[in-house]
Symmetry: C2
Subunit: 415 residues, 2 copies
């Protein structure tokens, strides 16, 4: 391990011991000061962001990526508002989760505590820098950030302002640190900084997440990969199905809770599929389908095996006929990424079966998959959507950034 990383890890761990015992008021004071400072010093951020944008333009970055990267006063005001919202959320740290008295008389309490040091590896969007800090700081964690090289100047400017503001407020500035070295080697070292880091949350492409899982010795929470299905059952309300599919597929193409694959019961696909295709055509969605559907939708492209497992993140959807809800469930459990899955049906029994047996963070009956989101689930904010089963599943808010400890108080009990 390089001295650079060791030093960062050590500082983060030390800061985490301080933030862990800050009061809610102290943490909110820090967040509020940071929120104000980002707005007051927005010109510094915009100036740094301009360098990133210029570099992006010369590198031939796409318009969409340049848009995600770019910051202006309005967007900075939005980031600042997000921090204020986090300050207003309930602080989960210190909450008594359970308590009981042991037969020998001591009291055993289970208490929520911060995870400790979180590391976040992410890609181009610089707003993640401030968001992640706010969520981690509110929950008493320190955070080590490794953003992408494309946003390095913006990230440095934001982190500088946050650190200086914390120092002014006599709060531990090392509760946020940015890896200024954005090399792959340093990222890999970060993934193995087990002595100091309690959890690694990658945010970005499937490739980035895979690399973290493969290389990390620090526990990883996998997030954000969504090959989500809508299954239209034999007894579905077809208008409702069209509506839900259109929303789940097209409201935003590039998000993890968008629908990527349709399954239709064999008794209704001839009726339903032309209506679905006509609606999706409004947004130029291309359909990759099995033979049966291709026979009724002339524009559809024959699907390959690869299509069933593909998260398009764009105006494409796969479609397949199944003979029963059981076949739909088996197909979904084979190809999904355990994110969000919907059944459209008027049959309660089939709905129940689907909700019970589909293996995913969020399973829906007659609702669009687009609702899998920390805000929609009432968490107030989210740091990501977990697609694994360990620790947290689905949207991760403040509670999911905590662990717990047992505190036992007695008067000399021995075993």
């Amino acid at each position: 391990m390089s001295d650079y990383l060791n030093e960062i890890g050590k500082k983060a761990k030390e800061a985490s011991y301080i933030t862990a015992v800050l009061s809610t008021e102290e943490k909110n004071r820090g967040l509020s000061a940071v929120s104000k400072a980002l707005v007051n010093r927005s010109s510094e951020i915009i100036e740094a962001n301009k360098i990133d944008i210029d570099n992006g333009v010369s590198k031939g970055m796409t318009k969409a990526l340049l848009d995600r990267l770019s910051l202006d006063e309005k967007r900075i005001a939005g980031i600042s508002e997000g921090i204020d919202q986090v300050a207003n959320l309930e602080d989960p740290v210190g909450k008594k989760l359970e308590e009981h008295r042991h037969a020998k008389g001591m009291l055993i309490s289970k208490v929520a505590v911060p995870l400790g040091v979180t590391a976040i590896i992410y890609e181009a969007r610089p707003n993640v820098t401030a968001d992640a800090f706010a969520l981690c700081f509110k929950t008493g964690n320190s955070v080590v950030l490794r953003g992408g090289s494309d946003a390095i100047n913006s990230n440095k400017a934001i982190v500088k302002i946050i650190r200086e503001t914390l120092a002014e407020e006599k709060l531990p500035e090392d509760s946020i640190q940015l890896l200024e070295d954005t090399s792959r080697e340093t990222a890999t070292e970060l993934m193995r900084l087990k002595e100091y880091i309690d959890v690694l949350i990658p945010r970005g492409s499937a490739k980035l997440i895979k690399s973290c899982v493969e290389n990390s010795t620090v526990p990883v929470i996998e997030t954000g990969s969504g090959n989500c299905h809508v299954y239209v059952d034999e007894s579905a309300n077809i208008d409702m199905a069209v509506n839900i599919i259109f929303n789940a597929k097209t409201q935003r193409f590039g998000v993890c809770n968008a629908c990527e694959s349709l399954l239709l019961h064999e008794k209704i696909y001839k009726d339903a599929m032309p209506k679905i295709a006509a609606k999706l055509a409004e947004k130029d969605v291309e359909i990759h389908a099995d033979e049966k559907i291709c026979a009724v939708i002339p524009d559809a492209i024959p699907a390959t095996e690869e299509d069933w497992g593909t998260e398009y993140l764009g105006p494409t959807i796969s479609a397949k006929v199944v003979s029963s809800v059981d076949e739909a469930i088996t197909h979904i459990n084979k190809y999904n990424t355990k994110h969000s899955e919907t059944i459209v049906t008027e049959n309660k029994e089939n709905a129940e079966k689907f909700l019970q047996r589909v293996d995913a963070a969020a399973v829906y009956h007659n609702v669009s998959t687009r609702f899998t989101d920390g805000f929609e689930f009432g968490m107030g904010a989210e740091i990501g959507i977990s697609t694994q089963k360990l620790h947290a599943r689905g949207p991760m808010g403040l509670n999911e950034l905590t662990s717990y400890k047992y505190q036992i108080t007695g008067d000399g009990q021995i075993r």
Copy 2:
């Protein structure tokens, strides 16, 4: 990935989808049948165990290890009773953890579900085979076991009986599978069987656990490493301290919640240490101590830096003088394994500080560390004691073998 492992993984995953939706009654019926079968067919187990014991003797295995490995009718009855106890515990699967209605009208429920497929890599004790099955089956998980080569014949006999019993009961026999190939290569493959395995729980030596963390792409729960401290504060009741230390160190030497290191406040060590040393001498405990303690305990051996981080698992203890509760906390957070830590003090403020700031699964005030245990904590059983912060911390019972999913039911809601 070898076909052998892929096949095992696939079967485990398929079985997990069946066990996940078994009713509590069906699961209890299976457990009860297995419990009876193990007793009824104990001669098969004892015969197989004899081969392992004979092999152990020829390999020159220590008496202690041979004892851990050996099974007789009484021990098998104990294993059987343990399974009955698990059957009697409350089933956490399907429990509604939270529920609220979204502004748009749909109901969002958070429901406990099994983790899915658990893998357990463990060492010589064959009773783990049946214990792990019982806990996993009760929580609707399937389990892939990789025991040590020393117990392979015993493990094969136990697993054979369990599988045959499940088949007789028309329950999925693949909810328990044993890797009969005990090579290191196969274990490493198991650690990377991410497509099928949801969680890996290693049980055994620190070396085994380290190997899992280093090599696994499957999420790992680290368990069982315990460099536990007792800190005797300035205002401690010294008799209570002697009692707690004697219990925590000597009740059982080889367990993870045994005390391995003492910290004593500088104002009391001259009085306390001779009493502690005299008591520990009853069980021939060797003391590795810093200079100050060596000056008052002539038999003590000068400690090296390595001592502070060593889990002896035997009749040795390290001891060091500190100048304050803060120094004790800093020392513990530097050297501990996040397992169990105790302060002995009559000072409430120092106790509170210690309970809050020491980073460990279980923190105690005036209680022996030996209580960190699933049974003692009221869980009825345990699969291990987690020393990490993700997912579960401290003793892991049935609840800790579950995850959750969100079930959302509506009538056409879109975003």
